[in-house]
Amino acid sequence: MNIIYQCYGSAHSSVTAAAIHLGKLPENRIPTVKEVMNLPDFDRSLDTYIGTLFYKGKDECGISVYTLGLGREWQVGLRSVESLLQLIGQDPSTFRIVHALNCITFTTKLGGALSRKYGFWWMGRRLAAYGVRKSYPRLVTLVQEVKNDLHRT
């Protein structure tokens, strides 16, 4: 079984969701800006890595967790991945792609753009981490829903 958290560039929302899933960030409280920024992959992925699947680790049930950025046309990207899995006859239940981009706020998107696109990483990264704190409950809910679904199946 593989869980793929998907967002725009595999730098913020998917990375945070994967970190929550793997227990690297707490589920019962909102982490500090420093804790978020201390994630080794937070706000690090470059535009040239959009489309790259990043392995993040295995959770307590042995499920592999990945992150994937699909860029602007993410719906098209998701459709193509589903289409390919169907084409090669892969059991769809072995892959679960979770869209995490909807969980984050404009602040994180702005911070991400400042950092990744315009190179103001010092300010952008902090702003993105601050935004993640704001949207953290939504990210936790997303991960919990995924985990609950996994336990049901």
């Binding site: 489309g51 790259t52 699947l53 699909l70 860029g71 046309e73 098209v76 459709r79 193509s80 991945v81």
Partner: protein, 125 residues
């Protein structure tokens, strides 16, 4: 062996390239494209879906996909997914096309926006 053509549009250019690759005799390229759009009505309205176009005499399955954005992103993502699914990457060839037919979602749109290309494809057969 599988070959997938990726174009940055709704899939029009990928279909042209895929049909050219098939190299089968008979109707002109333009007629083949029209035929394809009739058989698979949603071929240019569902970007991201992979369509089987045909099989070459050397037994290569030809597929096409419209990516709407940078084809390199989907090429990368699909390659990783194939690898994760345990498929042999040597069995898959992905060809990114540099040009796309922007805003073409139907055969009539193709004819309207690219009359010269249609003429060339009709003449060359």
């Amino acid at each position: 062996m599988n070959r997938l053509y990726l174009s940055s549009d709704y899939g029009a250019m990928a279909l042209v390239a895929a049909l050219r690759d098939l190299q089968d005799e008979g109707a002109s390229m333009a007629a083949k494209i029209q035929q394809c759009t009739l058989w698979k009505e949603d071929i240019w309205s569902t970007p991201g879906r992979i369509y089987w176009v045909g099989c070459t005499p050397s037994n290569v399955s030809i597929y096409m996909i419209g990516t709407m954005w940078k084809p390199v992103v989907l090429e990368r993502a699909l390659t990783h997914i194939l690898q994760l699914a345990g498929e042999c990457l040597l069995e898959w060839e992905m060809i990114r096309l540099n040009h796309g037919c922007k805003n073409v979602k139907s055969w009539s749109g193709f004819v309207r926006n690219y009359p010269r290309l249609i003429r060339i494809l009709s003449e060359r057969g």
